[in-house]
């Protein structure tokens, strides 16, 4: 008995050491093809750094990438991954979480991807408090299709698809997420790697649905929301900010509409995740369960 205990402790130490050995290099795939100066470079590095700091290896997690410049991180970041369809990353991520909830699940998506094409999925992922971490590259444009306006673009923003200026008002991702039931809603800035690392780690450590909306300058197509633009308008939430109050979080999130961008955790509360409500996967992940064979228990309903 004691021998086994000793062995277990030894294994744990060994495991710990192995984990410490994970490095940025382990997560590094192909060299990024993003434009020079693109905010995505910073986000990519911050994600890897956060994962390394959390002692994870590429085998320990699942990442679902959307389609867009953000989704192209699929080839630059090593992990068990799905490079999904445009807009569909969130339901893929939910499916992974529900069948193997021991795996941390991240979705790396863009604003057009997540708030436009996948807008309905976003709302319902929030509602379900599905335990997935959604990192949105919010740059206000469709970069990969050469600069049409995205759902977060400011009203009046002129682009190829809206030459006279976009008529719609922008989506406010923070307000939308908080009001839809997300239990962790944060904002960060691609020009502040340290803040991104810290925020991504906080999101990863949160149990439940986490949104990190990253303000990301697109140096090629968006001449409005530049690094300069954001540097003048972002500010960090102070230590006295109460992040667990729904109403003040809603009010805080609305500052975005006035082009003031709070950085940090806007809202965080502890609630059961979707999968925590399922007694059938309480003791084991669905994928790890033994096959059900007591068929008479269900055939009796038909007699």
């Amino acid at each position: 008995m004691e021998e086994r205990l000793r062995r277990n402790i030894l294994l744990k130490i060994l495991n710990f050491k192995l984990k410490i050995m994970s490095s940025i290099q382990d997560f590094t795939g192909y060299s990024p093809t993003w434009c020079s100066g693109c905010g995505d470079h910073g986000i990519g590095i911050a994600i890897k750094q956060a994962l390394v700091q959390m002692n994870l290896t590429p085998s320990d997690l699942a990442v679902v990438f959307g389609i867009g410049c953000s989704g192209n991180m699929n080839d630059f970041l090593n992990a068990y991954a799905i490079h999904s369809l445009h807009g569909r990353a969130l339901p893929n991520a939910i499916g992974i979480k529900l069948t193997n909830h021991r795996l941390p699940v991240i979705a790396v998506v863009g604003d057009g991807d997540c708030y436009g094409e996948g807008g309905n999925h976003f709302i319902h992922a929030c509602r379900g408090n599905h335990d997935i971490k959604v990192l949105v590259h919010d740059n206000g444009v469709y970069g990969l299709t050469t600069g049409q306006s995205a759902p977060t673009a400011k009203q009046g923003y002129k682009s190829k698809s809206t030459p006279s200026g976009i008529i719609e008002i922008p989506i406010n991702p923070l307000t939308l997420a908080i009001s839809s039931g997300a239990t962790f809603v944060a904002q960060s800035f691609a020009g502040d790697p340290a803040h991104m690392i810290q925020t991504i780690k906080a999101a990863m450590n949160h149990k439940g649905f986490a949104l990190v909306n990253v303000l990301q300058p697109c140096v090629t197509f968006n001449k409005i929301n530049t690094y300069q633009y954001y540097l003048q308008r972002v500010y960090k939430l102070g230590g006295d900010y109460k992040k667990d109050d729904f109403e003040s979080a809603m009010i805080k999130s609305l500052e975005v509409n006035k082009e003031k961008f709070p950085l940090g955790i806007i809202y965080q509360v502890q609630k059961l995740s979707y999968h925590d409500h399922l007694p059938q996967i309480k003791s084991e992940a669905l994928v790890a369960k033994n096959r059900f064979i007591e068929f008479d228990k269900i055939t009796k309903d038909f007699i």
Binding site: G29, Y30, T57, P58, S59, D60, A62, V64, I67, N72, N74, D75, N78, A79, Y80, A81, I82, H83, S84, L85, R88, L90, P91, N92, A93, I94, G95, I96, K97, L98, T99, N100, R102, L103, N120, H121, I123, H124, L278, P279, Q280, I281, L286, V287, K289, R291, F292, F295, K297, I298, T299, F302, I303
Partner: protein, 586 residues
């Protein structure tokens, strides 16, 4: 001898539950049943009818005459009187309406019994069941048992209260119509049977196949799979998600399947249309997925609660780009269990979407099948995960040299490795020491995106070889009913028409020699295997529940065989033996 019992009334007053109770009672008495519901896409206010064909033998078609018609309202009589004969029994309440015609009139004072026993409208059904069993010469015991099961949770007083209505109906016939009582439903010795719909069969087949994840958005006539699976979830250990839309449904299932769990989705044509983009995604990422389609008449919203086989070509051609899929169909309840369980194996072995086609008639009608059939099937079924690298520990032990990449950049594992049979080994995410991406872009063997010509060709050809392998190993030829060599007339069909065609064959026996070729493995088709079924100097007739003769077109496209004679039906009603005979040209 066989009979048809039919009950009709206003929608929202328990006709469905009552019909199913009758089917179960009759099955418990040792008879075989086949039933069908007619209902409008309304919750209240329309007309519902439930028809049960009862026989001593296995039965899978409807017959045109109704032998016992229970009219809970006048409309039932008006709508269905054309199917009555002189020998038919009509159960109705003289106090509510009168009926005139040459048949046996059985007056049951529903209204008075309800008033005397202080019952609610819905208890009319219980009186009707009691009266029906009495008319057909059955004991009341099984009805009493059903009421006990249904109401036992609510206490003995409620059980007894409901029993009173059953007894009142039963005794009323005994006391007033004893001479007219038929001696049909006397209890028979028989092995236990189950009463199931096609949707139930898909659900059971999924559990037998160890499918653990089901995701759907409700759509008639597929919705009862979602509700059945949800009711089993905790007991069986399934995760069932009612998603925000069909796009989410299939993508959640694809995510689930990525982790190594068997997963499926179910829908009807319109919902499937939303899933199509992701079918292509499953195709290129080679993630197994089973898609169940219960067809109903389209286009668009169409006729939601009626039946048609109008989505075959859509299913076959669904998805952008060229990717591989398998389309199967079931013709009856037993076959639905077999085909469903097979679909999960094929999806994993060939790592592609497998579509199982049903229609409203098969999905929602009940049929009795023996418990022995299910037990035997469970015993013989083997879960086949195909090339799944499940037991990898620390990366090295189970991955063979063959699975390794020579330059070692991807930590040895190649998700899309070029193989002779086209199938590359799958790896369960989370396996230590490895990682890979399932990529919706065209990709290299290791999963990374590529736009280079040669790797593209390699992957397209690799995926194409999966079809070759399937056609060689797992494609099943159509089943033949009757003697193909002797037949002058050969029916060709697929799906739920089978019962009607086989009954038509029986009825045509004295006129001509017929055979029937029934397809379950609809796409892709193996030309070499199929050609010998089509011989010279025979008259082939295509039977389909659509207006285009869609399987005929598919057969022509894939094999060059053209069937010129067609019996098609597309009025929302199912193909019946009478319909075939009426449209049969000698």
């Amino acid at each position: 001898m066989d009979i048809t019992w039919k009950i009709g009334g206003e929608a929202g007053f328990g006709i469905m539950t009552t019909g199913l109770a009758f089917s179960k009672i009759v099955s418990r008495l040792g008879y075989q049943i086949f039933d069908y519901v007619e209902y409008p896409s309304l919750i209240r206010g329309g007309h519902n009818a439930y028809e049960v064909h009862v026989s001593h033998e296995n039965v899978s078609h409807l017959k045109p005459e109704v032998d016992v018609l229970v009219c809970l309202n006048k409309e039932t009589y008006t709508k269905h009187q054309s199917s009555l004969t002189k020998k038919s029994y009509v159960i109705y309440d003289e106090q509510e309406f009168t009926v005139d015609g040459d048949f046996v009139k059985i007056n049951v004072p529903f209204k008075k019994i309800l008033a005397d026993l202080k019952g609610q409208m819905i208890m009319k059904n219980t009186i009707a069941l009691g009266a029906s069993l009495s008319v057909l010469g059955a004991e009341i015991d099984e009805l009493i048992k059903i009421l006990e099961d249904q109401f036992s949770k609510k206490g003995e007083a409620i059980v007894n209260f409901n029993k009173n209505f059953a007894n009142a109906g039963y005794d009323h016939i005994k006391n007033n119509y004893s001479k007219k009582v038929l001696k049909f439903l006397t209890k028979r010795e028989s092995s236990p049977s189950l009463v199931m719909t096609g949707n139930d069969a898909f659900s059971l087949g999924s559990v037998i196949a160890d499918s653990r994840f089901y995701c759907a958005y409700p759509m008639t006539p597929s919705s009862t799979i979602l509700t059945t699976m949800a009711s089993w979830a905790e007991k069986v250990g399934l995760v069932v998600r009612h998603a925000e839309d069909e796009i989410a449904a299939i993508n959640t299932a694809i995510g689930a399947s990525f982790t190594g769990v068997r997963a499926s989705v179910g829908t009807s044509g319109g919902g499937f249309a939303l899933m199509v983009e992701s079918l292509s995604f499953a195709g290129v990422t080679e993630i197994p997925i089973v898609v169940f389609i219960a067809q109903r008449p389209g286009p668009a919203t169409g006729m939601p609660t009626w039946t048609e086989q109008g989505d075959l070509l859509f299913a076959v051609h669904a998805g952008h780009g060229e990717f591989q899929k398998i389309v199967l169909s079931a013709s009856d309840i037993e076959e639905m269990i077999e085909v469903t369980a097979e679909a999960y194996n094929l999806a994993e072995v060939y790592q592609m979407p497998v579509i199982v086609m049903s229609d409203m008639y098969l999905s929602e009608g009940h049929k009795s099948i023996t418990k022995k059939f299910i037990d035997d099937f469970i015993t013989n079924y083997k879960v086949n995960h195909g090339k799944l690298l499940k037991e990898i520990t620390n990366g090295k032990s189970q991955i063979t040299n063959e699975d390794q990449n020579s330059n070692n950049k991807t930590k040895n594992y190649l998700r899309y490795k070029i193989t002779e049979d086209g199938v590359s080994p799958r790896l369960i995410p989370g396996t230590p020491g490895h990682y890979y991406q399932a990529n919706s872009y065209e990709h290299l063997e290791d999963g990374h995106t590529t736009e280079e010509a040669q790797p593209r060709l390699n992957q397209v050809n690799k995926r194409a070889r999966k079809w070759d392998t399937y056609l060689k190993i797992d494609f099943k030829p159509p089943k033949v009913y009757g003697d193909l060599d002797k037949a002058e007339v050969v029916f060709v069909s697929w799906g739920s028409n089978k019962g009607a065609v086989i009954e038509a064959q029986k009825q045509l026996k004295d006129k001509t020699n017929t055979a029937f070729i029934n397809f379950t493995h609809l796409y892709p088709l193996n030309k070499k295997i199929i050609l010998p079924f089509f011989k010279e100097n025979k008259k082939y007739i295509l039977v389909e529940n659509n207006s285009w003769g869609q399987f005929g077109k598919l057969l022509l496209q894939e094999t060059g065989i053209e069937i010129k004679e067609k019996i098609l039906r597309y009025d929302g009603r199912t193909i019946t033996p009478e319909y075939i005979i009426k449209n049969f040209k000698f």
